[in-house]
Symmetry: C2
Subunit: 196 residues, 2 copies
DNA sequence: CATTTTACATACATACTGTATGTATGTAAA
DNA sequence: TTTACATACATACAGTATGTATGTAAAATG
């Protein structure tokens, strides 16, 4: 029973949406494809028609989550003209976005484990990490950053932000933890600021 | 056929040893318990007698890996008297240990995903992270560190080191990447050093 | 209008975890 | 020395999950 283009897209979107909920709430390993398709009033045949495998489905979900987060980071960072403030705003936005809607599980825990670090990193590269690297590169070109390996610093900061997000997420007073982290990041960045 | 204490311990050690190899090489999800026990010339009954579940086995393996790494970090850090140098040495030792023997997969990828972040963090707490926190606390008490949340800084640094280790691990020239990171960490720590 | 393609459903093969049960052996107390 | 029980496994099986092969109805295509 062939559907038209719009119906097909709706099917895919529905599967992605429901899958995202299951992955966030139960995690990748404890999510059964059967449950997803039942909720979507479909069968596993439909799912396997649109996605190569369980991993393929997860990867598609991860991609959309990453896109969402990256957009928020970019929007927030753009609110300032000062490169240092942009960086701080971006970091803060990233941590905030990773927290909300419990994106952290897909983004930071199952992501690397399910797809493998290389694949996960490749995807992250095209979203949040790209923004971070470009920002740092720009700052160094403008002579505002001490001479340090941009690659090393990008990974270092990225990892720090990821773990910070996970830490903040489970703190009773998350907003205070976020404040402490933001303040600390400002202090840290001072170490890299090139004196005029 | 009851064995004596020593034989029993040997069985457990053998299972742990083989399991560790499988987890490092194939990852948690792609490791079949059946393969492990066959290699140990046992059956799954034996494994389930000594370990509660697949997760239980993994947790036991993770614990031993963490212990190994923590010992190396402690040994290295103790080689200096200066607290700042201790910190730098410790960071470097951690990254090095996470790399070698491909510990990274158990330690940093499957660890958090399989056991959940809270449980993983609780375990890490008692090993590498404890060292890091104590070091930072000591430094702050000695007035060598700017007034910043130790908790926030500990998590931030820990995450940064973890991601750096994963990054370095897959670089063609790992030793150079390690150098760049070490150099960057020194620079970064400057930002936190309290002026005399 | 005939044919092909698409979007699914259905049925089944395969694989793996976990559990229930059986059994031989060691140990401690009666 | 017998008895009672715990321990260390083996064996068999149940349950559940992914993935694959095949069937089918309807839209698209020529």
């Amino acid at each position: 029973m062939k559907r038209n283009q719009e119906e097909t897209n709706a099917t895919i979107r529905k599967l992605l949406e429901i899958a995202r909920l299951h992955f966030t709430e139960r995690g990748y390993a404890d999510t059964a494809l059967e449950d997803i398709v039942q909720e979507a009033q479909l069968t596993r045949g439909a799912l396997y028609h649109h996605f190569r495998s369980k991993k393929g489905l997860f990867q598609a979900v991860l991609e959309s989550v990453q896109q969402e987060v990256a957009e928020k980071v970019e929007t927030q960072a753009a609110k300032s003209e000062d490169v240092w403030e942009q960086l701080a705003l971006g970091c803060r936005a990233f941590v905030g976005a990773a927290l909300e809607a419990q994106n952290k599980r897909i983004l930071l825990l199952d992501g690397p484990a399910v797809l493998g670090w290389e694949e996960w990193r490749r995807m992250d590269e095209q979203h949040s990490m790209r923004l971070l690297r470009e920002q740092l590169q720009g700052m160094q070109q403008q002579g505002q950053l001490k001479p340090v390996s941009i690659e090393a610093l990008t990974h270092f900061l990225s990892g720090a932000l990821n773990e910070s997000a996970l830490w903040i997420a489970q703190m009773a007073d998350a907003s205070q933890a976020l404040e402490e982290t933001a303040q600390m990041i400002s202090l840290l960045l001072e170490g890299f600021r090139k004196p005029e």
